[in-house]
């Protein structure tokens, strides 16, 4: 009886993953400690929810590539760049208000398709070494775009450096464009607690679409390619095409993801800002219980809540408790530690 219970508990830990358990416990501890250190719990929770809503789509972008066996998409910045191009062009063409958001999505889509195809083609040539090359594809494209932001003939006075009259600024305010456009849609406000209904709905729609896609014929083929490429090929699936599709999807979702992030954050960040944006997304989905070759929508949701929860809660609680803001250090150690943990776990499809 007793042993049975124990093994049940051990099984639970096994399935849940020890690191995830520790992180959940840590977040719960922070939440419990919240009222004692004089922080307002509803504000904190609504902070977590809104940050979840900003980042959700970026984390969702990890899913297709993990499914098709391309590993964690460290090349997320490439998709982000498509999104940035969409954002800046939409503003440049003079769209304002909610329309500018729709146009940003529309304009960034062709960029995401083209860049994603190139990226996918490259990743098909280097099967087995995807993650490292993805990282450097991201870095190279970000630094290439750094030059482009300076050179491209943008004219909008809201975006270029006032003095020189050319070259985009490092941060561009979205006031008057699509700042909070989703978050304010049907937003629910109770005291200090705000629920960004629009953003959550937007994320839910994309997540649902992703879930539905994974259950279509192509979607199951994608999972098959990821879990056993040899078997998939034997079953007559065109492995390279499926992988290419997954990379394009991931890139497009990253483009949409950064636009959603911007509407919440209120600014477009250019130049070096997209550089390390892959790491938080990668560690979020891993914290949610995904591995290098397995990821579900549930992983995305749980992971983003846990990760953003820790990121938002630690500064407040730590500052009030010991007057030492160690949150940055904790974030670095936790997120990279999580990625390390995932990379070192033995996985069947690892080559």
């Amino acid at each position: 009886m007793n042993t049975n219970e124990k093994s049940g508990f051990a099984k639970f830990i096994d399935s849940f993953g020890l690191p995830r358990l520790i992180i959940t416990a840590f977040l719960l501890l922070l939440l419990v400690a919240c009222p004692f250190v004089g922080a307002d719990l509803p504000t904190q929770i609504s902070n977590i929810i809104s940050r979840f809503s900003w980042n959700g789509v970026l984390v969702l972008a990890m899913v297709p590539m993990v499914h098709s066996g391309c590993g964690l998409n460290f090349g997320l910045p490439l998709g982000i760049i498509s999104g940035l191009l969409g954002a800046t062009l939409s503003i440049e063409f003079g769209f304002t208000g909610p329309i500018s958001f729709v146009m940003a999505i529309l304009i960034s889509t062709p960029f995401a398709l083209v860049l994603g195809s190139g990226y996918g083609w490259l990743l098909n040539r280097i099967k087995g070494g995807e993650m490292m090359i993805a990282t450097y594809v991201g870095f190279s494209s970000v630094s290439l775009m750094c030059m482009m932001w300076l050179v491209l003939p943008y004219k909008s006075p809201n975006m270029v450096w006032g003095l020189a009259g050319k070259g985009l600024r490092t941060t561009i305010s979205l006031e008057g464009y699509y700042n909070q456009v989703l978050a304010k849609f049907l937003a629910i406000k109770i005291g200090n607690f705000t629920f960004p209904t629009g953003t959550i709905l937007f994320f839910a729609a994309l997540a649902l679409a992703m879930w539905a896609f994974l259950h279509t014929k192509t979607g199951t083929a994608m999972t098959a390619v990821g879990s056993n490429p040899v078997f998939a090929r034997a079953a007559g699936i065109n492995v390279n095409r499926i992988r290419l599709l997954s990379v394009i999807m991931s890139t497009w979702l990253a483009a949409i993801g950064i636009l959603v992030y911007q509407q919440g954050f209120g600014f477009v960040q250019l130049y070096m800002a997209p550089f390390y944006m892959a790491l938080p997304a990668v560690s979020a989905i891993l914290i949610g219980g995904a591995s290098v070759n397995k990821a579900t929508i549930t992983n995305v949701i749980i992971g983003t809540i846990l990760f953003q929860g820790i990121v938002t809660m630690t500064p407040t609680v730590m500052n009030n408790m010991i007057h030492m803001d160690m949150s940055e250090v904790i974030r670095i150690i936790v997120s990279n530690g999580m990625i390390l943990y995932a990379l070192t776990r033995k996985t069947e499809a690892a080559t």
Binding site: C146, M272, A273, F275, Y276, E328
Partner: protein, 155 residues
């Protein structure tokens, strides 16, 4: 047998490195030595008057020329300092000379030597004192930049 021998070798190597480190601690200790040509009144009441001019030479190179009430500074590595001093009582007075060997205290970063007192043969605790840097008043807190978004560059 072979294992034992290599173990001993490693132990010896480790000891040698430790010894090297200890030696570096000894010879590498840096001090800032300040020379004062200032008037000084010892606790017992003896007063020492500054010289008209003192020149200090280290390794044959002049490091300081002190008029009355001046202070000069030398950076020193190790616990021993030998300097040559050239003294003048008045503007066109005869230059006197000599060398001084000093043993610097290990635990003090900065040491002040009052030359008039030292040359007059006062006790060490009279002519030597520790240099304590005056703390900068109300220093503004420095913002630590651990930013990941800085452009990588070497300089």
């Amino acid at each position: 047998m072979k294992k034992k021998r290599s173990f001993i070798f490693r132990l010896i190597a480790l000891a040698l490195i430790a010894a090297l480190a200890a030696w570096m601690f000894l010879i590498g200790r840096g001090h800032t030595v300040y020379f004062d040509n200032k008037s000084l009144t010892a606790p017992d009441g003896t007063a020492y008057e500054p010289w008209y001019q003192i020149e200090i030479l280290k390794d044959g190179q002049r490091v300081a020329r002190l008029k009355a009430e001046d202070r000069g500074m030398v950076e020193v590595m190790g616990q021993k300092l030998t300097v040559e001093v050239k003294l003048a009582k008045s503007k066109d007075g005869k230059m006197q000379g000599g060398t001084i060997g000093l043993e610097l205290p290990y635990n003090k970063d900065g040491v002040i030597y009052n030359l008039p007192a030292m040359l007059a043969g006062a006790q060490e605790e009279v002519y030597m004192s520790e240099f304590i840097p005056t703390p900068v008043e109300e220093e503004t807190e420095e913002v630590v930049v651990t930013d990941e978004f800085v452009l990588p560059s070497e300089e």
